[in-house]
């Protein structure tokens, strides 16, 4: 029985090896990578399709509507209809646009978004490349997306696109700092930049409880900061100023239509999944089960369960929070997130050098919570985060 469950866990690895057994050894590494890449492409494109319909239905329910419910059972075939629609639409390129760059931007965005999956462990032994500097690779690839956004905004020769791109880049650069700094605590603790060893470190248990980094004061703070920065990094609401449709139409992809627009959509969602998967890898124990008695469930199931939970939380947040203003966004990044991540680094250091026990918990918890409260209160008093006052309503 136990052996069989192990086989279920490793079914994709076994299948891969079995398929490769029929091939000459020279082409085996190449074919193995191609298989894995194809699998990742298909899986996450499918996840994108599911997410779009889940998001639309979820947002609808949050706003007391039905959401899409026409195509297929309960509207779950809506993405197919959307895909057909965007494929058959005319691809309009503005006349003054820089055609080559205009074409390359969505391609680069999607390519960069998919490239990030190379270092994300989806299950036990299920990773494309176990790189020594995996986390660094992830952030390096993330910076490619900024370039794609700039290319899209600049090549369209439209003021809305340009403004959207400027906003997007300013936001992405600002939030990349807290994103990287929030993940550095994990790197400090695990002493490795390899995603596989980070996950392996978390996949152990005391009693039934796992050693996920999120279950420590610095880990929890780091996770919260990472998720806020990831929301901003993937241009999701409430940080979706780059595409604030009430101000600048659709931001940097205003001038895109048809399939290129769909590619932007795809790239954005794939990037969001990648950042979420990175958060899972760094803080939520990657593919490891939440309790030791649940380890018999295949590892990839846990990975996708966690990913789906985070995606649903993203949708929930999107349905709840209103969009920030540009100055609020920047203030949050530089005056709240950055000091908090730096303090979190210090907390992680203190945690590392203190003996285990209740005192460590107390001190580290206080080191995270007290500055957070003080900082937020101070910023509130300085009217940096005030409650919005509407002049013309009420």
């Amino acid at each position: 029985m136990n052996l069989k469950l192990d086989q279920l866990d490793q079914i994709f690895v076994i299948l891969n090896n079995w398929l490769l057994g029929y091939l000459p050894p020279v082409v085996r590494p190449l074919c193995s990578s191609i298989l894995a890449i194809a699998l990742i492409l298909v899986t996450f494109a499918l996840l994108f399709a599911i997410t779009t319909v889940l998001e639309r239905k979820g947002l609808g329910r949050i706003q007391n509507r039905f959401g899409p419910n026409r195509v297929g059972p309960c509207g779950f075939l809506q993405p197919i209809a959307d895909g057909i629609k965007s494929l058959t639409k005319e691809d309009i390129v503005p006349n003054p646009a820089d055609h080559v760059v205009h074409f390359l931007a969505p391609v680069l965005l999607v390519a960069a978004a998919f490239m990030a999956y190379a270092v994300l462990p989806i299950g036990r032994n299920m990773i494309l490349v176990d790189m020594n500097a995996g986390v660094l690779y992830f952030f390096a690839i993330g910076s490619l997306m900024e370039l794609a956004v700039f290319m899209a905004g600049w090549s369209s020769r439209s003021k809305y696109s340009l403004l959207g791109a400027m906003r997007a880049i300013a936001q992405m650069i600002s939030y990349e700092v807290p994103l990287v700094l929030a993940s550095i605590v994990v790197i400090m603790q695990s002493g490795s930049l390899s995603t596989v060893s980070i996950v392996n470190m978390q996949a152990t248990y005391t009693g039934i409880w796992p050693h996920w980094f999120v279950f420590t004061p610095w880990g929890f703070a780091g996770f919260a900061l990472f998720m806020i920065a990831a929301t901003a990094e993937s241009n999701r609401s409430p940080f979706d100023l780059p595409e604030g449709e009430s101000e600048i139409i659709a931001g940097y992809y205003t001038e895109y239509s048809g399939f290129k627009f769909a590619l932007f959509f795809l790239g954005e969602y794939i990037g969001m999944f990648a950042t979420s998967a990175m958060a899972i890898t760094l803080f939520l124990g990657g593919w490891s089960a939440p309790f030791s008695f649940l380890t018999w469930i295949p590892s990839y199931f846990w990975f996708f369960a966690k990913l789906l939970t985070i995606i649903l939380t993203f949708i929930w947040v999107r349905g709840t929070l209103p969009r920030l203003r540009m100055d609020q966004l920047m203030n949050l990044a530089w005056e709240f997130m950055l000091p908090m991540t730096l303090l979190n680094l210090l907390t992680a250091g203190v945690w590392h050098f203190m003996p285990a026990g209740a005192l460590r918990w107390l001190i580290c918890g206080a080191m995270v919570v007290v500055p957070c409260i003080l900082l937020s209160r101070g910023l509130k008093q300085r009217k940096k985060f005030q409650v919005r006052k509407y002049r013309f309503s009420e």
Binding site: N132, A133, A140, S143, L147, F150, M151, L162, E176
Partner: protein, 166 residues
């Protein structure tokens, strides 16, 4: 000489040459990113993974974006396009060509050609971190100081002194 090196070399040289020769400044920066990504790939080929990814992160993610932002912010409203190259471009290119000729001659005539590829050393990030924290801790601190100074300096220089104007 293997295929990957030739390919990467071509990408790098074409990218950087385009970066220095194209008319549109934004195109130049985009070509530059291609060239610098080629350099990063060369680092990876040489086994310096950390440096390669740092190169991508710093140059593509930061320097190129900064340059592009600077180009956007200094976009001159005048419609007439200024000539791409300066008035003494012949002198400049002659100097560059002669520098290359001298360097190439030096490399060609040196005894370095005898060196062949030694076995790939295992460079983990752990080793780099250890080295940074032990042998190179003073340069690291200096670097931190320099970067802080540069950060503050750049902000002070580029900041719009609106109060003074008022």
């Amino acid at each position: 000489m293997n295929v990957s090196f030739i390919l990467l070399a071509i990408i790098t040289v074409v990218g950087t040459a385009a970066a220095m020769g194209m008319r549109n400044a934004v195109h130049c920066v985009l070509a530059l990113t291609v060239g610098l990504a080629g350099v990063a790939a060369l680092y990876l080929q040489l086994g310096a993974q950390f440096v390669g990814f740092t190169q991508i992160m710093v140059y593509v993610g930061a320097v190129a974006i900064l340059a592009v932002f600077a180009i956007m912010m200094t976009h001159s409203p005048e419609p007439a396009k200024p000539p791409t190259f300066s008035s003494f471009w012949t002198v400049g290119s002659v100097v560059a060509a002669s520098v290359f000729a001298v360097l190439a001659w030096a490399i060609h005539s040196s005894s370095l050609a005898a060196h062949t590829l030694p076995p790939q050393p295992e460079v983990t990030v752990q080793q780099i971190g250890d080295a940074l924290m032990h042998r190179f801790v003073l340069p690291l601190e200096l670097m931190g100081l320099l970067l802080t100074a540069a950060l503050i300096g750049a902000v002070v220089i580029a900041m719009n002194h609106r109060e003074e104007i008022k």
